[in-house]
Symmetry: D2
């Protein structure tokens, strides 16, 4: 760890000279910058847990970032039979978009294409206490043969399908949560950084109302806004954090000895749950040997309304 790292810090706060460590890993004096995002929560049940999971994985696929996908999406929770509305195993997913209308469209499309079509599934509102709900009128698919009924206290539509009946609660709770909580894990080898990242993801996903929308929860290719060279590109590789470029560019923020950096990106239903997820994830990452430093991504505080200072979180 050299003093030059600190010079590259984007943190606007005065540097008091006191360094923060977590399990001997240096915590950079910076902050994660995050955004508002509308979040819909859908509980998928099925006759077996793996069937619910298969439908969930299909529904959250191609959903890493709203930059290039229709929504950000991921599995947020597993529900045991004893605690689900219909007594079957369940998987809860979160779908996230800053725009409420586009979120609704995504919920409808992903439910219709990926859950309605999946064997033995049913759909319930995953946030029954949310004050705001979006209606998704899937029941028209029943072509007039559908009917209303109840499952425990949930009002559902029963839609005749080839596989039997598809039950769906059509009022889906939404909340305005926080998207883009994040931290960077810097390791001496790629395997080490990845092991720490995976441990972090396990800790983050242990919380019920958070998702990591990237594949396996880990981002390998962090980006910066715009481009140095290609004016037509909206985002390009975050070259200051690319280990292979460390000795070829000026201003690299890759510490000495670091060969890989992985980013964990967290969407959650509230500021507090994202903060808790960052805390748990950083601690899990720092328990792995060979991690040199934890940092975070921001835009100098100019874009997102939410800031998570690492030194306060750890």
């Amino acid at each position: 760890m050299t003093s030059s790292d600190q010079n590259n810090s984007v943190n606007e706060e005065p540097n008091t000279g006191t360094k923060t460590f977590c399990n001997s890993v240096l915590i950079e004096d910076t902050f994660a910058e995050a955004f508002d995002g509308w979040m819909a929560s859908i509980l998928i049940t099925a006759s077996k847990r793996d069937l619910a999971e298969i439908a969930a994985l299909s529904a959250v696929g191609f959903g890493t970032s709203v930059i290039g996908c229709g929504a950000e999406a991921g599995i947020s929770d597993y529900v045991i039979p004893q605690k689900s509305p219909d007594g079957r195993s369940g998987v809860t997913i979160l779908l996230v978009h800053p725009d409420k209308k586009q979120l609704k469209e995504q919920v409808i499309e992903r439910v219709a294409e990926c859950i309605l079509t999946a064997p033995t599934t049913a759909v319930f509102n995953g946030l029954p206490d949310a004050p705001e709900k979006i209606p998704i009128k899937i029941h028209y698919f029943g072509d007039g043969f559908e009917y209303q009924t109840t499952v425990k206290d949930r009002k559902v539509w029963a839609i005749p399908v080839m596989g039997g009946e598809f039950l769906i609660e059509e009022e889906i709770g939404i909340v305005n949560g926080v998207a883009g909580g994040n931290f960077f894990i810097m390791g001496v080898t790629q395997s080490t950084a990845l092991a720490a990242a995976q441990a972090a993801v396990e800790a983050v996903l242990s919380l019920d109302e958070t998702i990591c929308s990237f594949p396996g929860g880990v981002v390998s290719s962090g980006s910066k806004v715009g481009s140095l060279k290609y004016k037509f590109m909206k985002a390009t590789t975050n070259h200051l954090f690319c280990p292979t470029l460390r000795d070829r560019i000026s201003g690299s923020r890759v510490p000495d000895g670091v060969r890989a950096i992985y980013e964990i990106v967290i969407d959650g239903t509230s500021y507090d749950v994202v903060r808790q997820a960052m805390h748990d994830g950083i601690h899990a990452a720092c328990s792995v040997n060979g991690i040199v430093k934890i940092s975070a991504g921001n835009y100098d505080g100019k874009l997102g309304p939410h800031k998570f200072y690492l030194r306060d979180i750890v």
Copy 2:
């Protein structure tokens, strides 16, 4: 099995009176109707097979049907380290769209969002012998720091990323294949029909150049074009094949005793491989006790150029 089933047959061919059976299961005298579809094949390798699979699942997600998704997509093959270009485990996916330009856009988006971002992955052309290729210029993400190199005989770009370097072969082979090969499995209970459907999917996916784009490969909610009741709906439940409606409507095609029908939909790189997949899948399904009948979906031959007669296939 009642004679009335035959009366409901959509098969235009003269009924010779000879019934076809596979392992004692009646094979309806009808055909599957399928479409042309452009197919791109991408080989994803990673440091471990599960990492390649995680990226693949993300990339093929929200990809069941081009009716509501950007592409149809699925895993087509697993590649052992000894046979992959970079000596690592790999997973091959197929992306399918009838329109070549839209297919290209989907390949670019899904690679950029779901594979480039995934840890340790690399991308290779999954159809190196295909005469036609689409170029996907992901390397601009490197912002000028990217460079060209080779992996075995493959020309690839190396793009610096936070996790190390992302290698990608940017010429992706495409072929004009066959989309929508299908058959219906009718069982005495939902579990039985599902077990047969899953056995069928295992057999279909054992072939290297086929995918089943629906969740777990099984369709629970087959649809018909248009609607009887809701004029604004483009497609609604295939009510003639809904077991719960059997005794409430006229013309139901659900045989006596059938409580669930699952559809297997197959996209493949050629007519022959789809035909082989239908053969293998039907035989696997019919090995499960409690299957009453196999049928298939068509549009009276008016929409798709490819027909697969079940009696010829079995």
Copy 3:
């Protein structure tokens, strides 16, 4: 369901003529007979959950029944990083044997062969509040290089190994629990009975202190004591419950229309948890269409001290 089924009932209680149903499935008026069993609980943590699970699966393997295996064994719980002693993901296993000394030997052997050898694992007492503990002296493997330390409030040995250090809490809590709680699921097809059995296992394993030691939790080949024909056999197929023999033998207890019967066998740390598991499992099984009857296995009350009457449980 014919009246002859009731005549075959082994239940010694007077038949009051009132039948019990669960979700329209007949619950036979009989009881499960279970045994005392010493149970040791081991919490395995690792740097990732899948590594803990791999070690656990190895340690509980070849552990279906004490008739032919050294112990009965299974995974009883998953522990999130925030709740495990060392902040890592964990998997808890139960090892069961009626004899305390043989249980101790099995704990030692299985820890030494299957967990000590597995990468990144640590071992903790899974029942820290149990009044009785067995000491397992694995630390001699350290050949004098081992040392004592603590992880949170746990006193552990640190043993140098090639992969780093293996931490183990050597006082393993044991309790005298109940082994052999069981019920039979009778379905109209094999797939249906299996689907119900798998749903039952999911419900049973949602409880923290129960295991289903058979493969996937489901027994396909229930047995009776002794043999009609082969005097050298201690146990042979439970022919009265074999569907394929129904019409060939007298006294078959297979109801009309049943083609498969699966047994769920449950070991748990107390009578109450096994009773709850049977309740939850039976309800889950009966939610699957095509289940005809639930029964249970006993020895006329002559062998095991614990009885679970189905009609009271449901």
Copy 4:
């Protein structure tokens, strides 16, 4: 890498001074020493691949080393429906023991306890061309209700069970193979060494007739014969290869900068397949960044009849 490493080499061959490298990783000039072992191969099929795999995992569990387990055991191959005797998905396992009679006992016990009991399974001889076969008389379990039949060209017994019928080919082919082929992977962090070990296992298991019997295929706690301190111990930690002891003992064979060493142990049906597996595994391991050295374990050539010189293999 210091010259002192070479001084610690156990290799008896003259040191020519030429060092061997694989992908820049130093290959120590030593050899793996392996043993003869009888190997039985069992093909388990089931209605779905995961059911076959669940039975296989149970049957190969508690089977890491014959030092403390009844047999060494692992999954050797996956068989697609089109290539299995009964047209269903299959998993092939190898069971290994130096003593033919004890191997037979283990095959019988593990088949009876873990495969016969598992839903929908059947058992076939995994080595139909082996000149030597062991008979396993499981059919007595049928209590006289069993009968002989054929599945394709295989002569099997059909045993009535509660779940239906269990089919088993009772002549199981055995060969005298090679057990204990091995190599050591030395990495700069635990995560790196583990990532390389897992890549090696994937490559090894891509071959059809090899197994890695330890959990996940990776050994974390290699041992030496006997003990320096505890005379009652038959085997203790291989202290010369423990990274945490490097600076506390004389003669450590841990290179500078190495924090973890994992061992891959391979059993295979022939010398050639084990040799190929070592080649493929070492190459896969050396493709991971942060691996410093590959070594192997032997007993100065005094115990096992088979030697695998690393420099010849790579």
